[in-house]
């Protein structure tokens, strides 16, 4: 994987993966958020433990039910949530997640419940994420 790696803490490094900074395709989402926002989105994911096994999810909330646009792909011009993937060495990378297209990009229920309970999302956003409408 090609890109710039930064150290987040003793166990975790984050890779700004070149693939997700290049040309968007149907299946490859790219970041519109700058590097600082990408990293802060990942750090919040780590700090708040929005992680399930080797996958994590994040967003940057602006106000009630409003989230910063993080990126796009050829199908979906507005992607507001991110998915992060880690390996066994502690190296992580992320990309703007496309819930409308890929059910596997959706956060696990345990993460959605945390977002709901911590008031990062409301009930209707929870259901819309589950059903690929956001």
């Amino acid at each position: 994987m090609v890109g710039i790696t930064v150290t987040v803490n003793q166990e975790i490094k984050y890779l700004f993966y070149e693939k997700h900074r290049g040309k968007a395709t149907n299946s490859i989402s790219v970041w519109d958020a700058n590097f600082t926002d990408e990293l802060s989105c990942f750090k919040e994911c780590v700090n708040r433990q929005w992680i399930f096994e080797n996958n994590g999810w994040g967003h940057i909330k602006i106000s009630d039910d409003e989230y910063m646009v993080l990126g796009h792909n050829s199908f979906n011009p507005v992607l507001r949530f991110a998915k992060f993937v880690g390996d066994n060495t502690g190296l992580w990378h992320g990309y703007p997640a496309d819930f409308k297209q890929k059910p596997n990009d959706k956060p696990k229920n345990v993460i959605l419940l945390r977002w709901l309970n911590e008031k990062f999302i409301s009930k209707h956003v929870y259901r819309k994420i589950q059903q690929g409408q956001i």
Partner: protein, 443 residues
């Protein structure tokens, strides 16, 4: 005509109504099963409310009855009935949680153990699409918990939505993984293998889907929508088989028909299309386009496109479905019901979930809308007075004519020998077997 409404307060996630029971999944992880008929009965303050309340909320199909058809030709009868409905549309029926609990049949933990993505009830089983699998459990039990805690895991899938038809088949929309069809009748036969009861129908993107007779209209929010055209191939008497697998295999996928070919509308802008039974719709500039679909005459599969003006926009379309009383479109922040009498009813968001039950007998006029702190149960009663053949908004109701003796015998034989199970269709709320529409039977 405005709809009637019952508001049930509480923090709900999902709901279903089936054979006189209202199923309410709460956010705390429990499932409440409510005696719906007793609850509606309790709202009656005097005898003059009995007819409109029961027609609106517990006997939705009653006024479509063949025997009543002529009555509505008389304007005085029609006005009398409309005035009766007006009596209850003016009232706010609001029940708090304590009042609802008076009609509880059962309260139990959510048997699926998580906030399911989608659910359906068919042939006395409740199905839940969870984040990893399609699960089911026995519903409508008379002893113990109303829904069994013993789960059946049918197969692993990560998907967006499920939709059942009257023949215990389910369309499963799995985003980029495509459209699948699950045969619940086969899945509940012990000897049938998994690859026989779940099949991938399309590999193109699927956000939500609904049945148009045997076919499935596949709607996509990111790509092109299409019709998965399926046909029932009749068995000749010499090839007749009682083997359930042979019979079910007679509904065959033939081809995928892209929306461009159906609607013949060219547009640079991507818009959503959807369909149920004979009505296929597509959002277009300034309104929606309608094409009528016939699954039974290959030479007349699609009608010419008709344009229906709808003059307002509420943002992006997220989902749409069609009932008898109209077509319902979910936008970012509103639910818009385009009624068969050309009026419009708007429910402002945020909306957690909404459901319609066009394939039931008694609740075909319902719209259930879950909001932050309640579920609103709407009843639309405009459609009884519409011409069911000519109407453009909403599925056409095929008025069920009384059986001839011969037809009844045939139907009973079919249902006995083939374990044909309808979703809430065969038994009315008093436990009587109601009229089956033999024209709709696949056999």
């Amino acid at each position: 005509m405005k709809p009637s409404k019952i508001t049930l307060e509480g923090d709900y996630w999902d709901c279903q109504i089936y054979r006189g029971r209202l199923y309410l999944w709460t956010m705390e992880g429990s499932l409440k099963v409510v005696d719906w008929y007793s609850l509606v009965k309790s709202l009656e303050q005097n005898i003059s409310q009995h007819l409109p309340l029961s027609c609106a909320f517990t006997d939705g199909g009653y006024l479509y009855n063949y025997a009543l058809k002529n009555i509505f030709y008389d304007p005085e009868f029609k006005k009398l009935l409309q005035d009766k409905f007006l009596l209850i549309t003016k009232k706010d029926f609001i029940l708090d949680e304590r009042s609802i609990d008076k009609y509880l049949i059962g309260l139990q933990d959510n048997p699926f153990g998580e906030l399911q993505i989608d659910s359906e009830i068919s042939s006395n089983r409740v199905y839940a699409l969870t984040e990893d699998a399609l699960l089911s459990a026995t519903a409508h039990r008379s002893k113990g918990n109303p829904v069994s805690s013993k789960l059946k895991n049918h197969f692993s899938i990560n998907a967006f939505s499920i939709k059942a038809n009257n023949y215990s088949r389910f369309a499963i929309s799995a985003g980029a993984d495509g459209l699948f069809e699950f045969d619940a009748l086969l899945a509940n036969e012990r000897h049938v293998r998994g690859d026989q009861y779940v099949k991938q129908i399309l590999n193109s993107h699927s956000s939500f889907a609904d049945y148009s007779f045997f076919s499935i209209y596949n709607s996509s929010l990111v790509g092109d929508s299409c019709l998965a055209y399926q046909r029932y191939q009749e068995m000749s008497p010499e090839n007749w088989s009682n083997d359930i697998e042979v019979q079910r295999a007679n509904i065959k996928f033939e081809k995928s028909i892209p929306e461009d070919q159906i609607f013949k509308i060219k547009s640079d802008q991507k818009t959503v299309s959807w369909g149920t039974n004979e009505k296929l719709y597509k959002a277009v500039n300034g309104g929606i386009a309608l094409v009528r679909f016939n699954n039974f005459k290959p030479e007349e599969t699609f009608s010419e496109t008709e344009l229906i003006k709808v003059d307002s926009q509420y943002g992006n379309i997220l989902c749409a479905r069609t009932a008898y009383y109209g077509t319902i479109v979910e936008y970012d922040n509103a639910l818009v019901v385009l009624l068969s009498d050309f009026t419009r009813f708007v429910i402002e968001g945020p909306i957690t979930r909404w459901r319609i039950y066009p394939r039931s007998y008694n609740y075909e006029n319902h719209l259930h809308v879950i909001k932050e702190n309640c579920v609103e149960i709407y009843s639309f009663n405009n459609d009884y007075f519409q011409d069911q053949v000519e109407k453009v908004l909403g599925i056409s109701y095929k008025i069920r004519q009384p059986f001839t003796r011969k037809r009844k015998v045939i139907t009973q034989n079919i249902s006995n020998s083939l374990k044909f199970n309808d979703k809430d269709l065969r038994v009315d709320n008093k436990g009587h077997i109601d009229a089956l529409d033999v024209d709709d039977l696949p056999f």
